[in-house]
């Protein structure tokens, strides 16, 4: 109970009576939560959700080998390529937005605002459709449909998340106290040197947690490949669910679980990175948190 004795924004340190009340509240809430869980489990059990065959069939060795594992690999491929593209575009347009040249600033702002306002699913699907309509990649380049699906999923993920990473980069630069750059100019560094030696190293440290958080979102967004039937995890779960129609819900739950494990592992990395990098910057912790908040929100 020691952790409840310190005072918080909402509660003063609890006295004997307060501790007793909070213990009662703990027990009551535990009972309520367990009751709700038990109810859900009993409803699911009554409908045969936990029947062994419904879990064994979609996890059959053959299905795992021919569908689950390739689909996880396809998801990770799209994630890796999409992340690389997004990082490249994010750096280009993030620096574009704080450039000294008006035209570069303007063009970068248009890119960021435009692609941040459109749903990713629309971007992916419409670029794929326009390409199919005019036959750019199918006609002259003679690409297979699989290559096209991967390309347009990666393009969509990269362009959309690039716009958001550019915003994070800009916020990171803005969070750095201007005195840092001024001090650099004062000791006689040129603009490029100030950016390279003083601003960038600190901004990159500030940004890393926010960037990783955005990459978790990018990983989840690979599921949008479904609209152009890219064979990623969720799409494959659907196919398995149609093959074993008794196990449809189970297949989807398994897919959701795999997503959860991948995203959770990635977000743990965020926490580690955060802890290691927090101390090495001149930006106040509150501002760094704001950047993270911005990234976390930017779906």
């Amino acid at each position: 109970m020691s952790r409840q004795q310190e005072s918080t924004v909402l509660f003063d340190a609890l006295g004997p009576k307060g501790r007793r009340n909070s213990n009662i509240a703990s027990i009551v809430s535990a009972v309520v939560i367990l009751g709700v869980l038990a109810f859900v489990v009993s409803v699911l059990a009554a409908e045969g959700f936990f029947e062994q065959s419904r879990w064994v069939n979609p996890l059959d060795a053959l299905v795992v080998q021919t569908t689950w594992i390739p689909s996880i690999l396809d998801t990770l491929t799209a994630f890796a390529l999409g992340s690389i593209l997004a990082l490249i575009l994010g750096v280009i347009f993030g620096f574009g937005r704080i450039s000294r040249f008006g035209l570069t600033r303007w063009a970068s702002t248009v890119y960021v605002q435009f692609f941040r306002s459109l749903p990713l699913v629309l971007l992916i699907w419409i670029s794929f459709t326009i390409d199919g309509y005019f036959g750019f990649t199918t006609g002259e380049l003679g690409w297979s449909n699989d290559a096209r699906r991967l390309t347009f999923l990666v393009l969509g993920l990269g362009i959309y998340n690039g716009a958001i990473l550019a915003e994070i980069l800009r916020a990171g630069v803005a969070a750095l106290p201007p005195g840092q750059a001024m001090a650099g100019y004062a000791v006689g560094l040129r603009h490029g040197q100030v950016q390279r030696l003083i601003v960038l190293p600190q901004v990159l440290r500030n940004m890393l947690p926010a960037v990783l958080a955005q990459l978790v979102i990018l990983l989840k967004d690979t599921s949008l490949g479904y609209v152009i039937t890219y064979p990623e995890l969720l799409h494959s779960a659907n196919i398995i669910g149609r093959d074993y129609s008794n196990s449809f819900l189970q297949a989807l739950v398994i897919a959701a679980f795999i997503y959860f494990v991948m995203a959770y592992a990635l977000s743990k990395l965020v926490v580690v990175a955060e802890r290691r990098l927090r101390k090495k910057t001149a930006a106040p912790a509150a501002r760094v948190q704001q950047i993270e908040q911005a990234a976390f929100i930017a779906e």
């Binding site: 924004v9 009340n21 306002s117 459109l118 779960a237 819900l249 959860f260 995203a263 911005a294 976390f296």
Partner: protein, 218 residues
């Protein structure tokens, strides 16, 4: 220039209207869920905090599309059936609710402890300090991030096309894939883009208006 221009505008307009009301309704659901979550998060009861945390982690690490699929395609298999728009609103609302809860929590955490201690030391009760000191500051701190969540929800609402709700993206898809009436491809592309930009623009203008109205100097 565009074939069947008036038909296209009517269809996209209907889609845009669906997008707007799905967004606003599910955002209301998300606000309610977020408030319940934040109350559980800050409550002294440990199991309530655990449950809120589990909910948040669950929805933060599973793709929205997977949530919608489980609801719409999966739950009927265990006898839970509802219309697609019910699942659309619930799915978007429950998913966004986890994010709203985190935002509200960081709003409360953004208040310096000294504020609360000062309120207690001049003898304000729990209710008084909440009403007069904590909440007014917390609410103002969370309006900008809640605004970003609302804009993000406009974009996320496009995913409900996968479970058969004809919002803006689904309408544009229908128009393009409808071979009989021959809608102009670029017309639909421009139309749907402009509609989303307009919705995002109007909503962020409204959010900024609220922000300015409630702005204060700390």
């Amino acid at each position: 220039m565009f074939d069947n221009f008036d038909l296209m505008v009517a269809a996209l307009g209907a889609g845009a209207w669906t997008t707007v009301w799905v967004t606003l309704t599910s955002f209301t659901i998300a606000l309610v869920i977020g408030m319940v979550l934040v109350i559980m998060h800050v409550s002294p009861a440990l199991p309530a905090r655990w449950a809120a945390n589990a909910y948040t982690q669950l929805f933060r690490n599973i793709p929205l599309l997977a949530v919608l699929f489980i609801m719409f395609f999966g739950l009927p298999k265990v006898g839970i059936v509802a219309d697609s728009w019910v699942w659309a609103l619930l799915g978007l609302g429950m998913y966004t609710g986890a994010f709203v809860g985190e935002t509200l929590r960081s709003g409360i955490n953004s208040i310096p402890l000294g504020q609360a201690e000062a309120a207690r030391s001049i003898g304000l009760t729990f209710g008084q300090s909440l009403k007069g000191v904590i909440l007014p500051q917390a609410v103002r701190a969370v309006i900008p991030p809640l605004g970003s969540l609302l804009i993000a929800l406009v974009k996320n609402s496009a995913l409900v096309l996968a479970i058969g709700v004809t919002e803006l993206t689904a309408q544009s898809r229908r128009l393009i894939e409808d071979n009989e009436s021959r809608f102009d491809l670029w017309g639909v592309v421009i139309g749907v883009t402009v509609s989303y930009l307009l919705i995002a623009f109007v909503l962020s203008y409204l959010v900024r208006l609220v922000e300015r109205r409630t702005a204060f100097v700390r």
